[in-house]
Amino acid sequence: MTTKSNIIEKTNSISQVRYACSIGSLYTAAAIPGVIPITHCGPGCADKQFMGLAFYNGFQGGGYGGGAVSPSVNATEKEVVFGGTERLRELIKASLKIMDADLFVVLTGCIADLVGDDVPSVVSEFQEQGVNIVYAETGGFRGNNFTGHELVTKSIIDQFVGDYNGKKDSHTVNVWSLLPYQNPFWRGDLSEIKRILEGVGLKVNILFGHHSKGIEEWKNLPKAGFNLVLSPWLGLRTAQYLEKKYNQPFLHVPVIPVGAKETSRFLREISDYAGLDKEKTEAFIRSEEKEYYYYLEHFADFYSEYWWGLPAQFAVVGDSAYNLAMTKFLVNQLGLIPSRQIITENTPDEYKDFIREQYKHIAEDVSVGVDFVEDGYIVGKLLEETDFGHKSPIIFATTWDRDIAKKLNGHIVEIGFPASYEVVISRSYIGYRGALSLLEKVFTTTIGKSA
């Protein structure tokens, strides 16, 4: 459905940034209960990540280890010229005195990485004393917060979890899915993923968010029978690494399930892969679907009667994880027409073809193109030149895209970074329960437009 664009393919700058800096992965650390990140960077770096990822993005909040809590070196000219290791040592010592963390994660910014501070040796001094502390070199030039997330994850595995050669439990799974904080709905979504996987009989190391058992869960990560990468690409490198390190296989499911159809399919795939009790799986699916369709049945009156006032075509602008998940759901369960899909996270090149392939098979008879774009200007141009037909389209995107949605006389649902007009507490948009919340959001937005 995507039309061939005649606009500039790549610009030398990015307006309306749709991800954070590599050191933004301090929120990967903060997303693990009991973990406190320590940032070894200049003034402003940590605060910008907080404001960007955890404040003006669903107003998620810093919690126990993020926001105003995270200690920072606050490097000045002195640390640039003479190196900042002394100051970092001092900060770690002070943090140990006054902060109660199960694990500290030191993240470096551009200054430390450019001047070559020997952070590993400073951190290892504390590790040798038995302090639970790791470091990750996350200078901004290494990439964005997706890159940082993988670096932090690997650091914790290497420096804290350590080696393991013991037995594994084939019915325990480690889940690598949405990027915490980048996706404002990660908390609710990870809860839903954990809930449904437990429903079919798995023990789940969800690793991030309220339902994670924190570092205890991470310590047990090598004992899991397999890793589940539930996203188009993020987490694949981690899973491949774990396969090598712990001889732990992984299952890659690129589509995060939204709605009963996809979620039930997903659970059957998992159940088969892990060799779970089929009966139990089907029983769980039956009970979930019963509830789901009970609600849908009542929703159906509205959906069939109100057709004249509802959008027929949609666009999704955002991270590949939600982009693919939403597109699949909206096509398969609501019968909407996908008109433009734009992925904005700066997907590593090696995964792009694989992702394009996913969009070719959205449904048996629906194949769509996908654009990989980071610049807000180009996003706007692409949306503007899309033919959405005669009805107002619905655009699943970010705060940045509100202006263009207005121009197109469309509806907008903010589903990704930055979502500055959404307050998100525990809401989920995925699985069985999240899909119902998504429907509520979509159609409240739609009919509310004429209020």
């Binding site: 010229v81 003479f82 001047v115």
Partner: protein, 291 residues
């Protein structure tokens, strides 16, 4: 109206005799009645030692390490015949960013208008070797030095460093940076060394300002913690330095050099290697036939 201060920067590969040459130029200029400040831009911070009886001085960055705000006066020390000495200093080897250190030190003195206050005739920056990063290029950027000289021997690595410096100068020349004054050919004792440097100057559209021979007088003076001008003022070598200082004093027009591309530079050095080999084996040809 305040007078115009002549600001020059002297670059060169480490160990080539840059600080020795610079200090002797400074000594010759103060001897001739000029007011001179020598600014050592090398983390080793030993540029001005021979102007101060071999003694080290606290560096700008030493002071900055102690307290966040530094009075530039605390970093300025006087030496031979009142010459002013400043050392930028730097971090311990292997840590921090020496390049940024130089930027910080130079900016600090500039911000406090210290050069004007001292009513100087000359500021001479003595800068470490290759222009490896932006920090070491600071003295050649806009508003600091106007003329850049390089100390080079006829060794390939020294020529390579000089060529790199020219690249840096060429780059900044479009944005009001310093221009190239010429090559100070150091440790030149034989005609073929002179020919090499001369040829390089010609290739890069520059000039040789002075040929400074290698001399035991220099070593003796250095060991006594002094410049040749101070320790052996009547020596022939002291006169060479005086002549060099005079050339620099009279120098007014610097130019944009035309550094060689790396492949051309390699080809150029290979050509010379061939000729030197031919000389060793007794074959006489080309330029060398009259050596």
């Amino acid at each position: 109206m305040s007078k115009k201060i002549k600001q020059i920067a002297i670059y060169g590969k480490g160990g080539i005799g840059k600080s020795t040459t610079t200090s002797n130029i400074s000594a010759a200029l103060v001897e001739a009645g000029c007011k001179v400040l020598q600014f050592g831009c090398d983390p080793k911070s030993d540029s001005t030692n021979t102007l101060r009886d071999g003694k080290y001085i606290p560096t700008v960055l030493d002071l900055l390490r102690e307290k966040p705000k530094v009075d530039a006066h605390d970093a300025i020390f006087q030496g031979f015949k009142g010459v002013y000495c400043v050392e930028a200093g730097g971090p311990a080897p292997g840590v921090g960013c020496a390049g940024r250190g130089i930027i910080t030190a130079v900016e600090l003195l500039k911000q406090q208008n210290i050069f004007e206050e001292l009513d100087l005739d000359y500021v001479i920056f003595d800068v470490l070797g290759d222009v490896v990063c932006g920090g070491f290029a600071v003295p050649i950027r806009e508003g600091i030095a106007e003329h850049v000289f390089t100390v080079s021997s006829s060794d390939f690595m020294a020529v390579y460093a000089a060529n790199n410096l020219m690249k840096g100068i060429k780059k900044y020349s479009n944005s009001g940076g310093a221009l190239f004054g010429g090559i100070i050919a150091n440790s030149i004792n034989s005609p073929y060394q002179q020919s090499i440097i001369e040829d390089f100057a010609q290739q890069t559209g520059t000039q040789v300002v002075e040929y400074v021979p290698r001399s035991i007088t220099v070593t003796q003076s250095e060991l006594s913690g002094r410049t040749t001008i101070e320790a052996q003022p009547k020596s022939k070598q002291a006169d060479v330095y005086r002549s060099l200082a005079r050339r620099i004093h009279e120098h007014t027009e610097s130019r944009v050099p035309t550094p060689l591309e790396i492949d051309d530079l390699r080809e150029w050095s290979a050509k010379w290697a061939d000729q030197l080999l031919a000389m060793e084996s007794g074959e006489v040809r080309g330029v060398q036939s009259n050596i």
